[in-house]
């Protein structure tokens, strides 16, 4: 029985046609999301964390001390940041369980496409958590409904792009070290600050009914940090997996 790819002689030329960066990235993302869909381990943890956090903030909130509209943006971004970290940690945890990462890195796939695939899967994960947390916080804090949520969703998406770029990089850096669960937030959180501050400011303006134009500066700042973090993380990522 001969294998379809077996050759009689060693190759003089290397018969390999690369599938392409985007296709490789989509393949890694699809695999990661399929694993998460099957196990639902990180999503359930993140969803429970998001709902519990919203409930705890709601029932410890003193309306006479701080208004809903001032408190809600902060609550929202605390939830996004910490529930997102749960997904980031899982991103490389599934690769290390039985050293699947070794086979992935030994394959012809570029490390940049592995990074892009991981980041895309993390973006989808955080998008799902945000889809759950936004209405939950809206309900718990009795926030106004309407078009303002389109702006909030746009700010959340912009923030999520930078968040997953830098978060995926740090998830790779901490994957092989002891106490990775502890080290990932400790190392990554300072880098999330340039994302979380403008995102929370933009969210506060939009929830308070201010026009999108007033939040534009914060949204531009987010877009700028997205470009910076995505570029830097893609360039640095290949070196994080060197032994």
């Amino acid at each position: 029985m001969s294998h379809p790819t077996e050759q009689a002689n060693p190759p003089a030329e290397l018969p390999y046609a690369p599938p392409g960066f985007l296709r490789d990235a989509m393949r890694v993302a699809r695999k990661d999301l399929l694993i998460e869909f099957r196990t639902r381990s990180a999503f359930i943890a993140a969803a429970v964390f998001a709902l519990l956090s919203a409930a705890i903030f709601r029932f410890t909130w003193d309306p006479s001390a701080v208004s809903t509209l001032d408190l809600a943006p902060g609550v929202l971004w605390v939830i996004f940041a910490f529930s997102g970290i749960l997904g980031l940690h899982r991103s490389f945890g599934i690769e290390l369980a039985d050293r699947a990462l070794d086979a992935l890195l030994a394959s012809p796939m570029s490390r940049e496409s592995v990074f892009a695939g991981k980041a895309l899967a993390n973006l989808a994960f955080i998008g799902c958590v945000q889809t759950l947390a936004l209405p939950a916080v809206g309900l718990f804090f009795n926030l106004p409904s309407g078009k303002l949520w389109v702006g909030v969703a746009a700010a959340s998406l912009l923030a999520a792009i930078g968040f997953v770029a830098i978060g995926t990089l740090f998830a790779a850096i901490t994957a092989n070290i002891r106490m990775a669960e502890l080290m990932l937030p400790m190392l990554a959180l300072p880098f999330f600050i340039p994302i979380i501050i403008p995102a929370a400011q933009a969210t506060a303006l939009l929830i308070n009914g201010r026009p999108v134009s007033e939040a534009a500066d914060y949204l531009k700042m987010l877009a700028g940090f997205d470009i910076l973090f995505v570029t830097a993380s893609t360039l640095v990522f290949p070196f994080t997996l060197e032994e």
Binding site: Q7, L14, R27, R38, D98, D102, P108
Partner: protein, 257 residues
């Protein structure tokens, strides 16, 4: 017992005269902190050759294997596969297959999904068909749609071997591949490796089990304290496991104490 081809303490080549070198490692050195795990190892293997690498724990076998596959970079020296440096380009990496006691599988995915993903990573167009073929070859096609986490250790290892061989690699690096395999699985692995040797693939097999390693080997090497201390070429009728075992024990006792 085969003749001793070359000692390697001085960095000499552990190789007979080969008309065509498939795998060429040149003076590899790898340090981890202050410890040198691999010291000035050179070797050359031809297409269709299998090198069985023996040695006690901590001898540097796995580090050498990982350098040969391009997984870790040597501090000095280089590795070339069919004239192309490793890790090198995607096309060069496409020629390598890895098998280890770690299965390198995703336990939440099915056997077929794992092998298909590996085939896709290697740019195979008919990835699903190739994955099914590889599973059939290892005798696990009946469990193709079973999640890997529910398979026994031996079946997981067979799926892992199918994953590593699905793209028809030209160099297969094996680190304790027989771990967890039952007799059927071990026979299926040996048969698959013999087929690969038959079509000109090169194998490097690290194992503590001398008889399994010698059954496939065209050459056998002993590694101690980061160096290849002995390389033997197989005689025409193959290695005699009994006498090689006695030789190995005497070397290890002499060197390690």
């Amino acid at each position: 017992m085969g003749r001793r081809v070359a000692g390697n303490r001085s960095g000499g080549y552990a190789s007979p005269m080969l008309s065509e070198v498939a795998l060429h490692a040149h003076e590899l050195v790898r340090r981890f902190g202050g410890r040198t795990a691999v010291k000035n190892v050179s070797l050359a293997l031809g297409a269709g050759e299998c090198l069985a690498l023996f040695g006690p724990n901590g001898a540097g076998k796995t580090t050498l294997l990982r350098m040969l596959g391009g997984q870790i970079k040597p501090n000095t020296g280089h590795v070339a596969l069919h004239g192309h440096r490793l890790p090198g380009t995607a096309a060069t990496r496409n020629l390598v297959g890895l098998i280890s006691h770690h299965t390198m599988l995703y336990t939440a995915l099915t056997a077929l999904e794992n092998v298909q993903f590996a085939a896709e990573c290697h740019g195979m167009r008919n990835a699903r068909a190739a994955a099914m073929f590889a599973l059939e070859r290892l005798g696990v096609s009946a469990r193709a749609d079973t999640a890997v986490r529910t398979l026994s250790r031996g079946l997981q290892q067979r799926v892992s071997i199918a994953r590593a061989l699905v793209h028809g690699p030209r160099l297969v690096l094996l680190d304790e591949p027989y771990t967890g395999l039952d007799e059927t699985g071990a026979r299926a692995l040996t048969r698959a490796l013999q087929e690969l040797l038959g079509v000109g693939a090169t194998l490097v097999l690290v194992t503590h089990h001398l008889s399994e390693g010698l059954a496939l080997a065209s050459r056998a090497a002993v590694m101690l304290e980061g160096q290849l201390v002995r390389v033997d070429e197989a005689p025409a009728d193959g290695f005699d496991a009994g006498s090689y075992s006695a030789l190995y024990r005497s070397l290890v006792v002499r060197e390690v104490g």
